[in-house]
Structures are given as C-alpha cells and as structure tokens.
C-alpha cells in the first residue's frame, strides 16, 4: 500500500467529517463548539510549524492572535474597512512583528527562547492595555452592522462563521502539510533535531526559523480576526493573554507534536471537553469543572506521554525505556 496516498486519504476523510458535522446538528452550542474547535485546531496547526516542526517552543502566540484581532477591528471600527481586508492587513502586520521580535529571540535556545516569547507577548499585551488609540483596557465592542459577507458579521446563523473558520483551518492545515513534505519542512525538522547538523547541511538556520515564524504568525493572525468578528468584542485581556498561548500549546501537545494531525486531535478533545465540563458543572461555582478538566489533562499526560497520536502509532511497546541509553548509543 502506498503510504503517501493513505495519509492523504485520511486527512481528507477527517476534513470531510468536520465539514459535515455542524449540518448534522443544528444546536447552536454545538455549532459554537465547532467554530471554536476549528479556530483552535487551526491555531495549533500554525503554532506547530514553528514549534512542532522547527522545535522552537513559542509561549507567545497570543501576541500574533491579538494583533490579527486588533488590526481588523481597528480598521473596521475607526475606518469602516471590511474585516477581510483587515484580516490580510493583520496577517501582514503579524508577519512584520514576528520578524522584529524574532531577531532578539532567535539568539536564545530552548527554554530561554520559550520564556522570551512569553515575555514578548506580555510586553505587547501591556502596550495594548495602555494604548489609548485602541481603547486600551476598556476594549472595543465591534459596531454591529447588517450581516453580510463583506462585514464578516452574521447574526442569524453560525454556519457562515463555521465556513470561514473551516476555510482558514483548511488553508492552515494545507500550508502545514505542504511545508512538511517539502524542502522547508525537512529543513525545519533538521533544525529541530540538531542545530549544528543543520548548519553543516548548508541550512541557514536563522533564515528558515524566521520563515517558519513568519508563516506561523501570519496564519495565527487570521484566526485572530475571525475570533474578534465572531465574539464582536475584544480587549487585551481576552486576546493577548497567556491563557490563549497556553491553550494552543496544550492542545497541540495533547494531540502530538510535530505532526499535522496532532492539533486536530488535541483540539477535538480539549475544546469540547472544556466546553462541556463547564456547561454541565460550571454553574456550581465551586470550580468542579476545571478540577475535572485539570485531572483529565494530568491523566492523559501520565498515561500517554507522547500525546494521543502516540497512542495510535505506538510501535515500540516499551515506551518508558531509557532515553539516555538511546541518546548515548
């Protein structure tokens, strides 16, 4: 059997199932979960490019998400420019910002890099909180206009939001897949595995990491725009928060890193889980929902350390073998 064809078929299968689901259940909350699922699965895919492929752990993707959200919102709020253009502008701006912040961050390795991205995101968040032009801490209620494709506002149904989310998700996943199977993907993975070996293979590591960061940032920003248009309200605490960054990290790790299926699986589990534990248990005011949520995360991490994907492709049975020994051999 041709492995490559099989993989393509699986991905298409998943994509079709996702597309059909909201039409099988008209429940508004279910569709909401689907929209959020797609947004976060897409964010996970975008993040995966820089962290899963290139091995540069980013704890600061909320920064790009927020920039995407704010760019389109400001353009629409202040100048009445369609969020579609805002989405593009946001992606461009996020790309530019990613280049600027990558410069100081890429000098750092490993955890130092991860904390640096976190620091950058927190600084950007504080700038937005204090920036009067973007309404600072008070946030912006996006003016509600008649629903239309141009205004990217839909009040009577969630299906258009779902479809936009789907298309963005599709673009992101396909981009990730294209990268994975071509030169850039190989180069990124080489950088992840060994910086020095990559250099010796003629790979300009800084440049490729930068490319990965740019692509990742641009894609992340587009979801920011959609998110803002979907909620119709944004403030810095909502889009720039560490929680958004961590959610992206968590679901991708939960699903399995460095693979385009990981974020999809992670999001398919994490998003409904957090939604439904809250829906069914959140009303008690005792934090039971998050307790259970936390416990489940611990459970998955402990019993499937390679992510859910690891469970599925567990070839080597003794997974808790001695890592040291392998590295040393």
């Amino acid at each position: 059997m041709n492995v490559k064809n099989f993989r393509i078929d699986t991905l298409y299968g998943i994509l079709i199932v996702i597309l059909l689901l909201p039409f099988m259940n008209s429940n508004i909350n279910f569709r909401h979960v689907m929209v959020i699922f797609l947004i976060f699965a897409g964010l996970g895919e975008a993040w995966n490019i820089i962290t899963g492929f290139a091995g540069q752990t980013s704890f600061g993707h909320a920064a790009f998400f927020g920039i995407g959200a704010y760019t389109s919102t400001i353009l629409f709020y202040k100048f009445g420019i369609s969020p579609w253009i805002g989405m593009l502008a946001g992606a461009v701006l996020a790309t530019v910002i990613s280049v600027i912040v990558s410069y100081p961050c890429f000098r750092l390795k490993g955890h130092y890099f991860a904390i640096a991205t976190l620091a950058v995101a927190e600084i950007i968040k504080q700038l937005f909180i204090s920036w009067d032009y973007v309404e600072g801490a008070t946030g912006i209620s996006i003016p509600i206009v008649e629903e239309s494709v141009t205004s990217m506002q839909f009040h009577s149904s969630k299906i258009p939001y779902f479809l936009i989310a789907y298309v963005l998700f599709l673009i992101t996943t396909m981009t990730a897949r294209y990268i994975e199977n071509n030169k850039m993907g190989f180069y990124l993975k080489a950088i992840r595995e060994s910086h020095e070996a990559a250099e010796a293979l003629g790979i300009d590591t800084t440049r490729y990491k930068l490319y990965a960061m740019m692509v990742s940032a641009a894609l992340t920003a587009t979801f920011g725009t959609l998110y803002a248009q979907y909620i119709l309200y944004i403030d810095p605490f909502m889009v720039f928060t560490l929680e958004v960054s961590m959610k992206i990290v968590l679901l991708s790790v939960l699903g399995g890193l460095g693979n385009i299926y990981g974020p999809i699986i992670g999001a398919a589990i994490l998003i409904p889980l957090s939604e439904y534990t809250r829906v069914y248990l959140g009303g008690t005011g005792k934090g039971i929902d998050l307790m259970i949520f936390g416990a489940l995360i611990i459970f998955v991490a402990c019993f499937e350390p390679n992510g859910i994907l690891g469970l599925l492709k567990k070839k080597r049975s003794r997974r808790r073998g001695d890592v040291y020994a392998r590295a040393d051999a």
């Binding site: 080489a190 992840r192 595995e193 020095e196 293979l201």
Partner: protein, 253 residues
C-alpha cells in the same frame, strides 16, 4: 597525480578559549583531489580546527581560504553551500526522521524540487550502502550505520570537499575496510577529503598526506611514511607500542 590547485588553505590560524589556546598558528593546505589526514593526541585541537574551518567557531587570528575565497568567520551554512561540508565526531543523526529523510534534507541544498532531491538521495544511499535501511528511523541505527549516515548526508549536499571527524572510531575491522574503500571511492569521484582519525591502520594506507597536531601546534606535515618515522610524532603520539607493531606488520603482512 596531484593537481596543484589548493582547495583549502589554512593560514596561521589561532584559536583561544579564554586563556586556553586550542590552536596556535596552524597553517596547511589541501589540494584538489587529495586525501589529507589530520592526526594528533586528544586535546591537540583537531576538532577545534575543524570547527574553525567549517565556520562553527570564528578563529582568533589567521585566515582560511576555500577555493581561493576567504571563508574566515563565515557561517557554516554558507561554507557548506560553497561546497565544503563536514561530519561530526559525535554523530548527530536527525533522530526522529528516517534515514532517507536525513539524506533528503542534505540533498535539498542542490535540488530545486522534491523529485530531484529524491534522486540525489537514492544515489547517495546506494553509494554508502544504506539503501536497505532507508525507512528506518535514524535514531535506531547502529553506531556504524550512524557514522555512515553522517557521511551520506554530507555527500547529499553535493560537496567539493568533505571533512570527516573521526568517522571510523568505533567501527570494526570489516567496517573500517568498507569506510576506507568509500574514501577512495570519493577520491575517485573528485571529492577532496580532510580526515581526522585515530585509527592509524585505516588512514595511513589511504592518505596522500598527514598533518600532525600536538598541543595546538602543527608538528609535522608529510607523507604517511615520513610521519610514521618522525621521532617527534612517535614520542608525542603514537607511543612505542605502535612503533613496534607497525614494524611487525611490515614484516608480517
């Protein structure tokens, strides 16, 4: 048979780490098509010199020319792109990737498409006898195969010159023989080689010239025969036992 065209020229390279001098005023050159070996006791500064040449370190003083172009302090990837690449003493396989993917990664340097890269990779795998293991994860190879993979990956970048850092350490006799053949094979394909090695039995027969480092300084630069009889070299490095053994094998084989 030497074409007297210098491929690599190392001029007065000095490298320091703090107060520790790893290389002191080292000069030598490698001509096109040659196999040159760099030997010396542990801590003599061979790997440091390698790192200086390939751009991983910036030398403290001195210049390095590759094909007449000054490459001193250029980043490693640019040097590789010019056609000078290396392997590592401590192998650095891209563990999560398969053998073929490892080689593909190197092949992308010259290939413009995936297809072309695949072609180069297949060729190189064939040449290094790794074809049979191409779908194995690189992390699970034996040490010998990992060393072979290092070489294969370097070759995939389409180099004019390859620098091998202890590519034979830890191989058994048969494997060393294969490695020696591979080196000669590469030489026949016009690839210049600079080899750091401990295994005298392996490098003496294939080297055109041997450069000996001791305590960061060059103490000899001559043909294998001359080097093995150089008193200073023997004292510093080979030890009496080798001296005796090499004499024995001269008679024995």
């Amino acid at each position: 048979m030497f074409m007297q065209e210098p491929m690599l020229e190392v001029q007065n390279v000095t490298m320091k780490f703090g107060s520790l001098i790893a290389n002191e005023d080292v000069s030598f050159s490698v001509h096109k098509g040659e196999i040159v070996s760099l030997i010396g006791p542990n801590g003599a500064g061979k790997t440091t010199l390698f790192n200086c040449i390939t751009g991983f370190y910036r030398p403290y003083a001195g210049r390095i020319y590759f094909q007449g172009r000054d490459i001193t302090g250029r980043p490693p990837h640019e040097i590789t792109a010019m056609g000078l690449t290396r392997t590592f003493q401590i192998v650095k396989p891209l563990k999560e990737m398969t053998v073929k993917e490892n080689v593909l990664t190197g092949a992308f340097l010259r290939a413009s498409s995936r297809k072309e890269a695949e072609k180069i990779a297949e060729e190189v795998l064939e040449m290094t006898s790794l074809s049979g293991k191409k779908d194995m994860p690189a992390g699970s190879l034996t040490i010998a195969d990992k060393k072979r993979l290092e070489i294969a990956r370097a070759l995939a970048t389409g180099p004019k010159m390859v620098m091998l850092d202890e590519a034979m350490a830890g191989l058994n006799q048969t494997e060393i023989k294969e490695a020696m053949e591979l080196c000669l094979n590469l030489k026949n394909r016009g690839i210049t080689l600079l080899i750091v090695e401990h295994i005298m039995e392996a490098i003496m027969p294939i080297s055109d010239r041997v450069v000996v480092l001791n305590a960061g300084k060059k103490i000899a630069d001559a043909s294998p025969e001359e080097v093995t009889s150089n008193e200073e070299v023997i004292k510093a490095y080979l030890g009496e036992r080798y001296h005796a053994k090499s004499k024995k094998s001269e008679h024995g084989v």
